[in-house]
Symmetry: C2
Subunit: 405 residues, 2 copies
């Protein structure tokens, strides 16, 4: 049911970053569900995490460990979120870190844990710990694709992106993977993403670049408005290319920043394209807003409206539902006579009602496509925001009504 | 698919209030789709309306006409919302009012118009105007049930409630009808409600009583989070009983206030019970909040979560989704270790995770019911709020994906 872009690009290995994927049988025997990522010494790592106050035990530990120093290993399991598990869950995640640390004799805070899957069930840590040696044995430079599959939950396909930047005859590589599917909403989702680059970047700058890029990508996608307990997005800069990116290398910094943005946006949009039950990939763009905040409010009102989303699923140009959502977005003194709403290239609303030039055939032509853009021109200022979402299909309900069975 | 309460109580006529229902063929030939309500001279009328900034033409006219004096007629059509129709729609609604006014020679501002149905299509005003004489001919004291059917859109059954108050050997009657089904969310929905009483109440006091009651009933129900362009709730006090309710009749005022609350709550809950595709009637109650606002934020986060709603549809005690929604409700410094979440009589969350006493069987027993209460005890203060909602079923998507066809 995923929308568009079925083939993955070539996934370039990143020097200084190895990945091992194996099976721990967390939920399904034989399923590859455990991923270990090894980071070379001297690398910088940055992370952004869910804002859900019931954040999972591994998320808490990631944040604590990151404050104690740079990590050497990331350990990720699927099949169990280890969220809503209280103190036991916290200890379980710590025990997994300890098991990884013991293999190479590092400190426990040099290991960051990640979990995704069902909320509220005890983590079967013994199975994970037993499988850690196999994950070490599997470590390889070329493990991206297998890891992209290894972190999937209800995803129907692996998500990955990779690109290279030229700099003075040398190359910087960026490669990343993500998983998502349901519970996708701003401020992260049950969304995991891991991006590595061989550029050399100080931790503080790397964090700044990551936070900004996540805000423009992972924090601008929404499938069902739920924000998960486990979302994490990690950016690792191994430095193995020997090319240093810093505040003083202005041009290189801009190019690197743009590349990180590009990789995150591709990974975020891939999550929307594979949203649970998705049959449409929808871009909601709000222009001429008085503030970024009101642009986002308007965009999310449209992107979250179940009535708009079911009309998208039906390929029905029921534009009145879009107008209605804009009307209740919570913008004071909305200029209802001055604003415009566009469905693809068709203007659907102007002068407070249906545009005179609009025809059902024009709306139908846009709605029949797999990729649809809704553009709202508020006529109130010069701010602009874009969010990406999906339709709401019968399959979404079926998937989520059956998820635990 | 509606949940519970299939039979209507006896609908007492209200002296001074007559209703005529007829067929104008607005959308479906032969369908009873036009309702005229006649209010005796000397009555008070109060109204509350949608906050959607793209509010429909009839809503604007209602508000303007109410400022010019008390109405003598309410005229309601289903099959077309006359929303998003710009200046033409405004004139069309005014022309319908004019046609009603001409029959008895009153001023146009003494007529209030209401429309519900598809947004954005031109009102077929000629058909409505042609049917007005038949609506006058149909006027009767006993027209409540027929009117309850006449205002339905995707409702599967009429909604009505009626009760009588004893006061010093005399009776005050309150009778009302409502319609809803989809697009139901706080600050009104495509929700129409008409309540009449033969008590005698000054307009200002009546408005105060209505606003407060609507806030505790119609503004506390949500099906899909959409707020429609057309919502209106009208309360008419004809005074025909001769019993005056005022600020000085303290005891009577309290009883009358409670009765209005009761009627509105019954009508509002009837809308939820008949929500599009509803298979569950869900009460979400938040206790021990620091403020009413945070109680509502928490309740709506749970009530709007598609993941919670699909779990309700599946009768799946996937309590982690409720915990997750509470976690992202936007409450700063949530006491995750001190709060409790209850599913019916089963405590599901305490001490930051699954309650020790919880068993899947206990959760399953609650979830299998048609009527379910989710209770969240925030441990932060003494404020409490309750909202009512439904599950999200495959039929919801089917109904809304097919609505225009």
């Amino acid at each position: 049911m995923a929308v568009g872009l079925g083939t993955l690009p070539t996934l370039h290995p990143v020097a200084g970053f190895r990945i091992g994927t194996t099976s721990a049988g967390v939920k399904t025997p034989g399923r590859k569900d455990l991923v270990l990522m090894e980071i070379a010494a001297g690398a910088s790592t940055a992370g952004v995490f869910t804002l859900n106050q019931f954040c999972a035990a591994p998320v808490k530990i990631c944040q604590q460990h990151l404050q104690q120093g740079m990590p050497s290993y990331l350990v990720i399991n699927t099949g169990n979120a280890n969220a809503g598990t209280g103190k036991t869950g916290y200890q379980d995640a710590l025990d997994v870190c300890q098991a990884v640390a013991e293999v190479t004799g590092i400190a426990v805070h040099q290991v960051l844990p990640f979990s995704t899957g069902v909320i509220g069930e005890k983590l079967p840590k013994e199975r994970i710990i037993d499988a850690i040696p196999a994950a070490f044995d599997a470590l390889t430079d070329d493990g991206w694709l297998e890891a992209a599959s290894g972190i999937m939950t209800t995803d129907t396909r692996p998500k990955a992106y990779s690109m290279q930047l030229e700099h003075q005859g040398q190359k910087i590589t960026l490669t990343g993977i993500s998983k998502g599917a349901g519970m996708i909403k701003p401020n992260m989702a049950t969304m995991l993403a891991y991006i590595a680059t061989d550029a050399q970047v100080e931790p503080a700058l790397l964090q700044k670049i990551l936070s900004r890029a996540a805000d423009r990508s992972f924090n601008r996608i929404t499938i069902d408005g739920d924000t998960s307990t486990n979302d994490s997005c990690m950016l690792v800069a191994t430095g193995a290319s020997g090319i240093a990116v810093s505040e003083t290398t202005t041009e290189l910094l801009a190019a690197f920043d743009a590349a990180v943005n590009k990789v995150l946006l591709e990974l975020a949009q891939a999550i929307v394209r594979d949203g649970e039950g998705a049959t449409k990939f929808v871009t909601v763009s709000v222009e001429q807003a008085a503030s970024s905040e009101e642009a986002l409010k308007t965009a999310y009102a449209v992107a979250h409206s179940p009535l708009v989303k079911t009309a998208l699923f039906a390929s029905d140009p029921n534009w009145g539902r879009i107008l209605c959502a804009v009307g209740y977005a919570g913008i004071d003194n909305l200029d209802v006579d001055g604003l415009q709403i566009w469905l693809g290239e068709a203007c659907i609303v102007e002068n407070g009602g249906r545009a005179e030039s609009y025809t059902e055939a024009a709306g139908q032509a846009v709605m029949s496509r797999e990729e649809i853009t809704i553009r709202i021109v508020l006529n109130r200022g010069d701010q602009q925001e874009t969010v990406w979402t999906t339709d709401l299909s019968k399959d979404y309900v079926a998937i989520n009504a059956d998820y635990r069975s």
